[in-house]
Symmetry: C2
Subunit: 139 residues, 2 copies
């Protein structure tokens, strides 16, 4: 089972954890980081450095909310300094559900990350457009 | 300015609102719906029906967390019953930021929705892969 860190602005990370647990039950392998207004950048760097620790790409996946935002930038700097983990941005619920339902002993981090990226993008759907087309087809 | 409803499981919707407001300031045009464990399906239907009311695609955009989940399903049923609004799934922070920063008098709902879908999918990035390739190129 992979270690997961959700790192976002505000408290979004904590709510992603609570919400996905409505689907899959309590998860001990998820930790959360929140970049709040009160948190200074060097305190955030220290916190994330300690959370990430000595891991590697096969063991740790870090999910962030926004490319270019502070949580993703701090994690990107840690990668450039030689820390090793998977790092994704643009977190949505399909990505987190894919990670938690497909993470088993057999799957490599590379395959798992590929599936998370695909399911995350495929989960962004213009439902209104789909339904309006169906209604026209059924007329 | 469009009316926006964020409709998710748990309290994710409320936290998306609070978090995006760290970037763009307080927004009066966002309302939130949370499908909690305690909420019965018919109570949820009633609540969303009242929130959506009599609108149209140019005025109201509903953002949901997950295609096939209760909030998206209830909204899809309302569309099929003849209510009119834009309905998207797979909400991430890039989608919400795109909506709030590009929503101006000149833009049509269709163009805005297209941009939200594009920016949402483009915001899902394998940052780890990007950085590892850069490190190799710089060697």
């Amino acid at each position: 089972m992979k270690d997961i860190i959700i790192a976002t602005h505000g408290h979004l990370s904590y709510e992603f954890k609570d919400t996905v647990e409505l689907f899959v039950g309590k998860k001990d392998n998820i930790r959360c980081f929140g970049m709040t207004k009160e948190k200074a950048n060097n305190a955030a760097q220290k916190e994330l450095t300690e959370m990430i620790g000595d891991s590697d790409e096969e063991q740790l996946i870090v999910l962030t909310d926004l490319m270019g935002g502070s949580p993703a930038n701090i994690c990107a700097e840690l990668l450039m300094e030689g820390h090793r983990f998977e790092l994704l941005s643009g977190l949505n619920l399909p990505m987190l559900l894919t990670l938690l339902t497909q993470d088993s002993n057999g799957i490599s981090a590379k395959e798992l990350v590929g599936n998370i990226l695909t399911e995350g993008a495929d989960g962004i759907i213009d439902i209104g457009d789909v339904i309006r087309k169906e209604l026209i087809d059924n007329d």
